[in-house]
Amino acid sequence: MLTRRPLGLAMALVLSLVVAACSTSEGTPAASAPAPGGSAPAASPGGSAPAGSPGAGGANISGDLQVLARYGCEPAPCEPSGEGAADEIAYTRYNVFAEQYPDVTLDFTESDFDAQAFLTSVAAGNPADVVRMDRAIIGTYVAEGALEPLDQCISNMGIDMSQYRQPAVDAVTVDGSVYGIPEFYDSRIILVNDSVVEGAGLTSADIDTSDWDKLAQVNEQLLQKEGDTPSRIGFDPKLPEFLPLWAKANGADIISADGKTSQLEDPKVIEALTYANSLIAAHGSGAAFNDFKTNGPGGVDFFGPDNQFKADTLGAMPMEQWYLNVLANNTPDESISFQPFKDRQGNNISFSGGSTWVIPASADNKDAACEFMRVVTLPDTWFAAAKVRADTRAADGEAFTGVYTGNTLADERIFGELVTEESAGAYFPGVQLVQETADVAFSLPPVPAAEEFQRIWQGAVNAVVNDGADPTQALTQADQEAQDAIDSAQ
């Protein structure tokens, strides 16, 4: 309270975790140590990796390479031990690069992307050479001229863009130029709490988003409430985050494919919001629903063993796939089944997000940065890292549900060889379903005022859900504001 200029926004993190964090994490404005710095071994052991062959332009890769991403374990060298700080997927891949290029001095920051840190380093003239950021915000930085277009780098180093999943590549392509190399690819399926569903006399297949009327009925059957306060959630439509998915299911997009025209006031989008909100409103008030979802029994232990599936306070919900791993480790015995999200025509759809490597326009060592990006996203590199994680988890008796890399070839190998019924347990069908739906997922295109756009449409949805605002009015106003923001950002 009586402090000097309170501005430490980083405590964000714990909250964002406890409070039902269903977002594509990396890149939350929760702060972190800024760009260059960090200590990391130049080439440490630990990765048993067959390296990909050096790229076509591999001639002049040397010097210092500052990477704005966490190395993944401290203190080095890494012991891939279970309970602790190690991120095998990170350091294993970086070690692959380090071994291939012993002349390069790698320097990692101790944190993930943070806007303040990144901007101050750019202002000071020494940004990192290669940066990992969330695909969802890349549009802003491209529009502001902060990033280097990668077309040159791609052709020089011979990066094969076809190996990456198309929606991920689309998410980092602006006006035909590629600005990032995708990394990670999360997608969404529906998790069904069998005990609740069967207890209501239904089956898992009844959770079907292609028939909205039926779903509304199922929602009513599954939910429980006392007056205006829910005591069990039937179907959680996951507003505001999943509005794009609902809109897509209704045949519309909230933004045009080139990312320059807001389509929030499209009647189909409004219809989608109205419908999804009605699912929430059936539980009582939106405010009570959100409170129960986050802080009620089950919800409060979202990452632990007393989660909402165990406590039976939830019927079904769409969710990102990384939650499968959390469930597998905390409630392996709970009976959970999986359904794809479908559009109203009955086709499977999904929504995906993830990170991307980018190169700041004012970086020093762009060649090394480019090669770095290429090497750490090769199928072999991914596989090596996934193997380390799989082995670690097996040794600790924990589940391994795969790594969703964004690289099709890598995924095929990982899910073909490493993820088995044994490693994933009861969640194996879920893992398989995620793989199947990965191909039908879509991403939002890069938007010039990306974060502002997201704030605006999510704010409108929140106003509808929590505040009882009228969807048409809210989205029309949001559309206007969003278009203004996009226009002025160009």
Binding site: R5, L13, A33, G84, A85, D87, D112, A123, G304, P305
Partner: protein, 315 residues
């Protein structure tokens, strides 16, 4: 010294009243009898204080109990988890360089608190005692510097320190060196306390030939010892718990301060990033961060009381 008893107004009470009151106060008998009414009231005071204490202390109790649980049970509502997992504390030291961070935080906090107390006292005395043209304008400048939101000064501020080569520096300069110049908050605070000292004391010293620095050192400082200790403790706490500055200016893991380290811990355990959500360790780290401040504060209080006692009856 002048004794004031008048109402809530700016004017000091007339001298006759003060003289009479002092005389009467001096003349009254020393013995105090404990009436039943007084005992009841004392009990009420303690009860109210206990109630308030519970409200303020409860979250910390929760924190400690959470730090002694396992990963699975960390967010349950148990206040007294058995068995107690003290090994969480040992584990934290293995996973991150907590010892280093502790040292860093100590260095930064002590430097920050010491420098700000001395410099702010000097400046505050300047504002409180002296009459000079531009006094009000300058003081308004001091106030004004508290009024601009820090976010917009962030980039220019960073650039200044960067130009001085002090980003990621083992001297931790950006975290405390600004305090060499005083801090608006404490200048304001100490000025208020200095203004409460009777001018006659200083006039008397002037007549005796004391120099201004001497008056500052021998009269003003000792009489406001309690306030100085308050400033020191406050800044100690502020520097100890500050997160913003270290995030911007410190980049090597070994140079982190405790809050920054805690933030790092939370990040690496983020399940979305592949971590395992080891919140019980986060809670243990939180307790470790909090305890020193509590102990220091508790110990320093005696000096509050002593300091205050000497400023009591200035006969």
């Amino acid at each position: 010294m002048t004794v004031q008893t008048s109402g809530v107004g700016g004017a000091p009470p007339p001298a006759s009243v003060t003289a009479a009151t002092t005389a009467r106060a001096a003349a009254k008998p020393a013995a105090e009898t404990r009436t039943p009414g007084m005992i009841v009231r004392r009990i009420l005071y303690f009860a109210a204080l206990f109630g308030a204490t519970l409200i303020f202390v409860f979250p910390f109790i929760w924190l400690v109990s959470a730090s002694l649980k396992t990963r699975q049970t960390v967010f349950n509502n148990d206040l007294f988890p058995f068995p107690l997992h003290f090994e969480n504390y040992a584990r934290i030291f293995e996973v991150v360089p907590l010892g280093n961070w502790f040292l860093n935080s100590t260095i930064v906090s002590v430097l920050a608190a010491t420098t700000v107390t001395i410099s702010s006292a000097i400046v505050a005395f300047g504002f409180a005692y002296f009459r000079f043209p531009g006094r009000n304008v300058l003081f308004w400048l001091v106030l004004a510097s508290m009024m601009l939101p820090g976010a917009v000064m962030l980039v220019p501020n960073f650039l200044i320190w960067n130009a001085l080569g002090q980003v990621n520096s083992p001297t931790f300069a950006p975290l405390w060196a600004g305090n060499l110049f005083g801090s608006a908050f404490y200048i304001f605070l100490l000025r208020q306390f200095f203004l409460g000292l009777p001018r006659e004391l200083f006039e008397a010293a002037r007549v005796d030939g004391a120099s201004y620095p001497r008056m500052f050192w021998s009269i003003a400082l000792p009489l406001t010892r309690a306030a100085l200790i308050v400033v020191f403790i406050f800044e100690l706490r502020a520097a100890w718990t500050d997160l913003m500055r270290p995030l911007i200016f410190l980049r090597d893991l070994a140079l982190f301060t405790l809050p920054q380290g805690l933030n790092y811990l939370v990040k690496i355990y983020n399940p979305q990033g592949g971590g395992q959500g080891e919140f019980h360790l986060v809670m243990a780290a939180s307790v470790i961060i909090t305890l020193p401040m509590i102990l220091i504060f508790f110990v320093a209080q005696r000096y509050f009381i002593e300091g205050i006692a000497t400023t009591g009856s200035k006969g």
